[in-house]
Structure formats: C-alpha cells, structure tokens
C-alpha cells in the first residue's frame, strides 16, 4: 500500500464519526432514490403485467339496456380488438357479522366461463356454475374482511328480491386493484364487495336476459381512441348509453395512478435535498482537513508530488465516504423498496408482486452520490493545492477581520466580548453561516413536508364530514325515483330526516375542453349535504345556472359568468347552455350542482331523486338496517361515520410510521450539519478557546462561544425552515392534485412546533457531543501546537 493511501485510512479512522454522519445523510438520499424507484417501478410492472394477463379494458361504457347482438357491431368498430359485455349493478348485502347492510357491485360473466376482458384471477375455489342461482364468486379482500371461505353464505337483495348466496371462490380483478365503493373516499373491504354471478342468473334478476348494461373494449395498438369512443357512443346512445370513458378515468386505475405519481414525486424531489446537503458536508469537513494539513501539502509538493496526486488523495477520501453512503443507501433502499412494494401490493390487492430492480437506478444513484461527494471535495481541494510549496508550508496568515455591516449592529448592541466573537465569526464567513443555516433549515422543512399531511387530513375530514356532508347515511336508489319517495324513506324506522339528491351523468363542455361528470340537483334549503366553498368558507346555493367545483372549473377553463354546454347523457339529444353561477371548493371528486327545480324545468319533467341523505336516530339504527336490507328500491347504503372511520384508520396506520421515519431523517440532517459544523469550529478555534480557558473562562463560557454561534444559526434556521417547509408542502399539494381528490395546504401550529422542536433537540444533542470535547480539551497540548 502506498504511504498516501495509508494516510488516507488513518484520516478516515480519525474522522470516522464525521465521515459516518456524512455517509448517513448521503445514504438517505440514495436510499429514497432506490426505494421509491424500486417500489414505483415494481408496482408499475406488477400493474402492467396484471392488466395484460387479465386483459384489463381500454374503454368502458354503460347503457341502460342494450341487446346482446350489439356486441358484434361494437367489435366491428375499427380499432377494437375485443369486446366484453355484461350486466353490472349494485346490490344491498346482508352479511351475518354486520348489523348494517354492505354494498356489492354485481357483475355477470358469460356462460362460456371467464369474461373476455377484465378477467378475475381465482385465488381460491372455483367460478360459479351457470344456471346456479345461489352461487357467487367474491373478491378476495371482501372474503378476507369477513373471514369467508368457499361454502360460506350471505344474503343479497337483487333488484328487490332477497336471496342467499353461497361463495364458490374468491378472486382478484384488474378492475378492483383499488376497491372503492360508491360515495366512499377510502377502500372499505368489509362494506363493499365485488360479486361475480352467472349471466343467466343476473339477466333474470335484473330483467336483462339477452341484454347487457355495461361494456368494456380492448383497443388495437394503432386505434384512434377518439374515433372509437365516438363510434361506441353512437352505437350505445339509443340504448341509454352515457358515453364511454377511457382507462385513465376508471376509478381503481385512477387511484393507482395517483399513488404511483406520488411515489415518483418522492423519488425525484427528496433525494436531491440529501445529496446537496451531503456535498456541503463533505466540502465543510474536507475543507477543514485540508486547511489543517496545509503544511503537509506544502511538504508533499516540495517532495515532488504533483498537484493531481495530492488532489486525488483528498478526493479519494470523499469518494470513500461516498461509496460508504452509496452502499448503505443501496442496501437499505433495496430492502425498503421491496417492503414498500409489498405493502402497496397488499393495500392495492394485486394477486402477485413483480419485484423488478433496474440496474440503471443503482447506477444513477451511485453516480449522484459519488458526484455529490466528489464535487464537495473538489472545491475544498482547489483552495489549497494551488498554493506554492513555500507558501503552503508557512502557517496561514491570521484571519483578517474587518469592520463590516455587522459591526454597526455590534456597536449598537454593545455585547460582551464572547458574544462579539460569535457575531464577528458569522460576519467573517457569511457564506458558511448561510449554508449552515440553510442546511439546518432543510431539516425543519423536511419535517414539515412530511407532517403537514396529517393537518391536511384533519382539515379534509373537517370540511368533508363536518362542513359539507353532515348526513349520517346516504341511501342509493336503484333507479331514478319521484321526489315523493323521500316521504317513504322518512317513514323508515329511525330516520329523523331525509333529503334528496338527483344525480345525472353529463358531459360538460367549454370551448374545446370537455369533462364527463355527474351533476347533482339539490333543493337550496337542504342542510344535510351542502355545497360549500372551502376557500371562502361560504355556502354556495345554486339558485339558477350551474355551480362547478373549483378544480372542475379549472379543468375546463371556466369561471363565474361563463356559459358552458351541459349534455345530459341519459336523455337523448339533451344539450343545454348553462351559466356558471358559482364555484364550490371541495377536496373530493369533481362536482357540479344545480337547483333541482331548475333542473326539472330544464329537462321538462318533475324533480327526481337518485339518492337520499339521512339523519338517523342511533338508537333505532338496527331497525333501519333491517328494513333497508329488504327494501327493493335501495341499491346501496353508505354510513358516513364508517367512511370517516376507515379514512382516519388508514391515516393513523401511516401516521406513526411516517412521523417516526421523517423525524429521524430530519434529525439526521440537523445532526449531520450541526455536529460537523461544531466539530470543525472546534478544530479551527481550539487554540482560541484554549486561550480563553487559560484566561480563566469556564467551560460553560467557552462552550457558549463555540456553540452560541450554532444556536444562533439554528435559531435563524428554524423560521427559515418553516417557511421553506410550507413552500415544499405547497409544491407537494400541487403535485398530488388529481381528478379524484386534492389535498388542502394546511400546516398547523403543532406541526410547526414539532418541526422546530426536533431540529432544536437535534442541534442541542450534537452540541452536547461536541461540548464533551471542549471539556476534555488539553489546554497545554493545544497551546503548544503552532497555529
């Protein structure tokens, strides 16, 4: 081994705590890169494999009743490769272990066996036999939630007829990777199930024998999606077609996409923060090491070593630190990525997990990690190796302090000398102070970016379940009903009040921008579910015209006063021009609202309802559930308390883990920066501090000078970090915004406090570690070393 390399190893041994602190920060960046990428790509790969193997549809459409013969015509549309027609509807389920009714989405499969598209993968048991009225295949998560195995039974009300079903098997489907029921915001496997039943059985139950009401198609690669959609819509329109929608608007797929986007954002945004900080740390530590070894560098040059050799020696040190960080990051990243993909695959109900590792991400993360360390080293090396040997071997001139702007402040403050030393040090190295401050600030902002999610969720719950939706339950009717049905509903046991909502599928068009949504007709005096603007905190009562959710208005570039085209999809040739009279802020979905009476006038028919919002007497809940389980007109019941519960449960599950991990990461950055700064300051100022000890300053007083600067910088960094954190949170909110939901930008005082606290504690802890070194400082030895 060459002597220089031996020196390298000794340097590393001497600097191991600092090296490890840098490696750890670097490792986090690499880890998150590898982890998020691994998880994201694995999930994408798993999804794509599942979609392809199980022939997930490209376009979806519904009708009220289309004859089976239409399938052949659909197939003849240019660009369509496969067609699957089926019966799809909702039904109330009566499960023995629940008093309240559950909701099932009932799907038919053909007599020939598996459907042509959206093929469920049987995980247990078998498909039901055609003609067997009492047999059903259920989705695995529903079965798991109730402990069902093949042979178990539960009750179902199909189009008003109650019957018992025997489970023949369980399955997972590409359509229900994210299984979310109607009127829900989170999956709830106990209360929402998928039921596959034989076509003939369902045809008989729903009066759709020889007909279908749902169609999926698979497109050829070169298909013109718009043309196919138009052709399909034309074919279905006479049969109550409401317009085809592409895969990206399919609920399960859309949620999965949103999640994958979040993972990708995480992979892109977080690692650079850590890489930049580690580059800064390498620069700081190496810069100091090199400054201390100035004379040795001069000597090496005098002995005939070339600049390149000397530079390489120090860069190698940085690269060793970099390699350590990269390998730690790789190891943990691979493990965490696998774990994360597994968690996701369980949450999302994939039948298997295709865990893929792309060598490219390892190469890229290694390159990024080593580059960060290398760049940090190069600028530090450049400062010294350029000096001539004679100059390098002489001790550096004492640092020049001059009176600067800060001195006006100092004069005004008239601090004691130790405080003056702190202020002058900051004034002398403003860049270093600024970078240190920024580094510490980053740790606070990482914390905020992680924690504000919980504040956002609180706000979201408050707005969605306290301000907007105040009903206890939503009853979904199988078909449109006259408004008089509300009286029947109100007469059900335990119902305190009932209000109707009339939902109509529409195509909303403004210029060339168009969206397929549902418009809700409401009575202006309804109080159980309100149209609310979260931004202005005002109720928006749609007296006339149409009120759009803000995000919907953004999508079609409409604002208040504009006129938009509303095409009612269930009514032939029903296009109307409506004025946008208000905007509603909301976090879920893209809603549009009209006065029910205005809607009735527009459509020239009496007011209808498709769902009812209920206020329930909890004492008589059970009676209500029993009567709903047998009510023929009811296709679904959503209990808002449970929606809220499953939402908070899901958040709580993630909460503990996320908070712990992010507090750890934030503390790691804070400790990495503060500890390294303090160590470097200590080595730079050992002589000065020893002099003060000799002059009779106590350890506490000397520590004040060294650590006071860091505490001052930390104190400046915390508010800065809180501001950056809020900006970061804003950027995240913007990147998470989707058609399905948006996340409010709310950062609570508690979150600010927690972030500030973690950073402060991390600073104090690193300061205390360094303080121990001050206590052990050998005064005589320090004074003997020449500056």
């Amino acid at each position: 081994m060459r002597v220089l390399d031996r020196k390298l190893l000794r340097d590393l041994r001497r600097l191991w705590t600092q090296s490890l602190a840098i490696s750890a920060v670097l490792a986090v960046g690499v880890m998150i890169m590898v982890m998020s990428n691994g998880a994201e790509r694995s999930l994408r790969e798993t999804r794509d494999t599942f979609y392809e193997r199980n022939r997930f549809g490209d376009l979806f459409a519904t009708a009220s009743r289309a004859p089976d013969a239409l399938a052949a015509e659909i197939l003849s549309i240019d660009g369509i490769m496969r067609v699957d027609t089926r019966i799809s509807d909702f039904a109330i389920l009566d499960v023995a272990d629940m008093s309240e009714p559950a909701v099932g989405q009932v799907l038919s499969f053909p007599a020939s066996g598996l459907p042509a598209l959206n093929i469920p993968t049987i995980t247990k048991g078998r498909m039901p036999e055609p003609g067997q009225r009492g047999e059903v295949l259920v989705n695995q998560n529903f079965a798991d939630a109730h402990g069902f195995t093949p042979g178990d039974t539960f009750g179902v009300t199909l189009n008003g007829q109650k019957r018992d079903l025997t489970i023949t098997g369980t399955a997972l489907s590409p359509e229900f990777i994210y299984t979310i029921g109607p009127n829900s915001i989170m999956p709830d496997d106990r209360r929402f199930g998928i039921l596959w039943m034989a076509e003939d059985v369902l045809g008989a139950a729903f009066n759709l024998t020889g007909a279908f009401n749902a169609v999926s198609v698979q497109l050829s690669r070169d298909a013109d999606v718009d043309a196919v959609t138009d052709a399909l819509d034309d074919l279905l329109k006479p049969y109550g077609g409401t317009g085809a929608y592409p895969r990206k608007d399919q609920t399960s797929n859309a949620f999965l996409d949103a999640e994958l986007t979040q993972l990708a954002v995480m992979a892109q945004v977080v690692p650079p923060i850590f890489l930049v900080i580690s580059a800064f740390l390498v620069n700081m530590v190496l810069g100091r090491l090199i400054a201390l070894e100035r004379e040795q560098i001069g000597l090496l040059k005098a002995l005939g070593y070339q600049q390149v050799e000397i530079s390489w020696h120090y860069i190698k040190l940085a690269l060793v630190i970099g390699c350590l960080g990269v390998s730690l990051g790789w190891g943990f990243g691979m493990l965490a990525g696998r774990g994360m993909a597994r968690l996701y695959s369980e949450f999302f109900h994939f039948p298997y997990l295709v865990f893929v590792q792309y060598p490219s991400i390892y190469a890229v993360s290694a390159a990024a990690g080593l580059l960060a360390a290398g760049l940090g080293a190069i600028s530090a090396v450049r400062r010294v190796v350029g000096l001539s040997p004679a100059v390098a071997m002489a001790p550096p001139a004492p640092t020049r302090f001059r009176r600067g702007l800060l001195d006006h402040l100092i004069v005004w403050l008239k601090p004691r000398q130790p405080t003056m030393m702190i202020l002058r040090a900051i004034g002398r190295w403003p860049l270093r102070a600024a970078l240190t401050t920024l580094g510490i600030a980053t740790s606070a902002s990482v914390m905020i970016a992680a924690l504000f999610m919980f504040d956002a969720m609180d706000e979201l719950l408050d707005v969605s379940f306290v301000q907007i939706n105040r009903q206890d339950a939503i009853v979904q009717f199988a078909l449109e009903r006259p408004e008089g049905v509300l009286e029947d509903v109100a007469n059900l046991p335990g119902v305190l009040s009932a209000e109707g909502v009339w939902t109509m599928p529409v195509r909303l068009t403004n210029g060339h921008l168009t969206r397929r949504i549902a418009v809700e007709g409401r009575r202006p005096d309804d109080t159980l579910s309100r149209v609310f603007d979260v931004e202005t905190r005002n109720l928006v009562q749609p007296e006339h015209g149409i009120v759009l959710a803000r995000r919907l208005a953004d999508h079609i570039n409409a604002s208040v006063g504009d006129t938009v085209t509303v095409e009612f999809l269930t009514i032939p040739d029903s296009q109307h021009r409506l004025k946008v009279t208000g905007l509603a802020g909301q976090y879920f979905g893209l809603g549009a609202y009209m006065n029910a009476e205005a809607l009735a006038r527009l459509l020239d028919q009496p007011v209808q309802v498709t769902q009812a919002n209920l206020l329930i007497d909890p004492a008589r809940e059970h009676d209500l559930f029993q009567s709903i389980k047998t009510a023929p007109a009811v296709a679904g019941l959503t209990l808002l308390a449970q929606v809220r519960q499953s939402f908070t449960d899901t958040i709580a599950q993630n909460a503990g883990m996320t908070t712990t991990i992010n507090s750890f990461l934030a503390a790691l950055i804070a400790i990495g920066v503060v500890y390294n700064s303090a160590r470097i300051q200590l080595s730079e100022r050992a002589r000065e501090l020893a002099s003060l000890r000799i002059l009779g300053f106590t350890r506490g007083e000397v520590s004040y000078i060294l650590l006071g600067e860091l505490f001052l910088l930390t104190a400046a960094a915390i508010p800065l970090g809180l501001v950056i954190g809020r900006l970061l949170a804003g950027a995240m909110v913007a990147s998470f915004d989707s058609d399905l939901y948006s996340i409010p930008l709310v950062v609570s005082r508690g979150t600010y406090g927690w972030a500030a606290g973690v950073v402060a504690v991390a600073s104090v802890v690193s300061a205390l570690i360094v303080r121990r070194r001050i206590d052990r400082m050998d005064l005589v030895a320090v004074m003997k070393t020449r500056e």
Binding site: P398, F401, R402, Q417, R424, R687, I694, G696, M783, R786
Partner: protein, 243 residues
C-alpha cells in the same frame, strides 16, 4: 525563587514541596519534574533558563493552574493548588494569574481593546482596557484587529490582556520567542514597567540568556529540577539587553 527562606520580610507567592510530574506514554515514563522544592518571593521578575525538556514549562503550567502535578504539593500564597479541582483552578486563573505566550494567542475576531475587554469583563477589579493598553504603549492601536498589528504589538496586547485584571502573578512562556530583537525589547520593557509600577510577580521562561540581566533572580533548570539560583546584584534596563 529560593531554596532558602532568608528574606523573611517577603511572604513567598508560590511554595513547592517535592513537586513531580511524570508523563506516561506507552513506551516510557517521562519525568518532567523530579521533586522540585522551592519558594517564589513576591514582586520580583524571575527568569527561568534551561534546555528544552528541563522542566521549566511544566513547572510554569502547574503554577498557572494549567496542568496538575503527579505528586508533591504547590501553594499559591495559602491556597494549595495541587488540591484544587478543575473548577477551582479555572477560578484561580481567572482571579490571580496573567499569561503571556510565545504565539500571543489573541482572538483574531476581536480588536486590541476587545481582546483586553475579554478579561476585564470577567474580573472583579480590573483596570480599563484603555489603561492596560496605555501601559504597554499601545494607546494608539486600540481599535486594530490582530491581523493589522506586528508581532511585537500583538504580544504587547497579550501582555495588556494579562495585566488588565491586576493579577498577582504574570507567567510568561517565551514571550519574545517569536520576535526580533527590536520588538522583543519593547515587550520586555512592557514587562519591566508593569513589574515596577504594579509590583506584579513575573515569571519569564526564555531561551535567550541575555534576558536574565533584567531579572531580580535567575533560576537554572536541568533534568527536571532546579540546578542553580542566582540573584542579580545589579539589574539592567531592557533597552540595554543585547541579543
């Protein structure tokens, strides 16, 4: 410093009894002090001479409360230094001792005045920084930073800083070691003046034998012990010193 106690009119400022200091290393024990017994009369300038490693710095460090003895005892007036805790030693340095080192050890971020104020702020009865700097002849350089001053000026700031608290003793370890003769003389003049005006006991370690001529007493060190003590019958002014 004397092994006898002939001058009873003067209470000694330091007394040492069998003072030893041994540095243990992995290979060998280094005996820096081998049982020094002596007394230091108050109010004098005493020059300590001897080869490197003869023990003078070790003794000065122990007397200054910077280092602890391995065995034996040392007293500052009636206080036993060898029995003091680290905290008490800090207190002792703060209240009674002024140090001057070869490499000045000024705080580069503070001006001359502020470097002196560093000490006056924590002392009970200090002179003003201005007065201390006037005494070393730097009244006109008070607002300069160390980097803006010559070595001799910096060392005189260090002396001003050391004397500003009106210490009983001034311990100087090679105060002129880094200086040329002209500036060195200025520094010695400052020490001489302080001793004459304030009666501060001053112990000066030097390798420059010429300096002994300005001392009341010269102590020779060899091999970890005092080999000879010589009292100067006639002292000369620092300006007359030649080296």
């Amino acid at each position: 410093m004397g092994s006898d106690n002939s001058d009873a009119s003067r209470t000694p400022i330091y007394r040492m009894q069998d003072l030893t200091k041994t540095y243990r290393t992995e290979a060998v024990d280094v005996h820096a002090l081998r049982g020094v017994t002596a007394e230091v009369p108050a109010g004098e300038i005493i020059v300590l001479l001897g080869a490197s490693g003869s023990g003078k710095s070790t003794l000065l460090n122990i007397l200054g409360g910077l280092d602890t003895a391995t065995s034996g005892k040392a007293w500052f007036r009636d206080e036993e230094l060898t029995a003091k805790s680290d905290r008490d030693l800090t207190r002792y340095r703060r209240d009674h001792v002024g140090f001057v080192f070869q490499f000045y050890n000024l705080v580069p971020s503070l001006t001359a005045r502020e470097n002196v104020a560093l000490v006056t702020e924590i002392s009970s009865d200090p002179m003003t920084p201005e007065e201390a700097l006037e005494r070393v002849g730097l009244g006109h350089r008070m607002d300069h930073f160390p980097a803006e001053m010559s070595g001799g000026e910096q060392q005189r700031v260090a002396i001003a800083r050391a004397i500003a608290k009106r210490p009983e003793v001034l311990l100087c370890d090679e105060p002129t070691g880094a200086l040329d003769s002209k500036t060195g003389v200025q520094v010695l003049e400052a020490l001489h003046k302080i001793n004459a005006e304030l009666g501060t006991s001053t112990l000066v370690i030097t390798h420059n034998a010429g300096i002994q001529a300005m001392a009341h007493r010269v102590v020779f060190f060899a091999d970890g012990d005092i080999s000879e003590i010589r009292e100067n019958a006639k002292r000369i002014e620092p300006t007359e010193i030649v080296w």
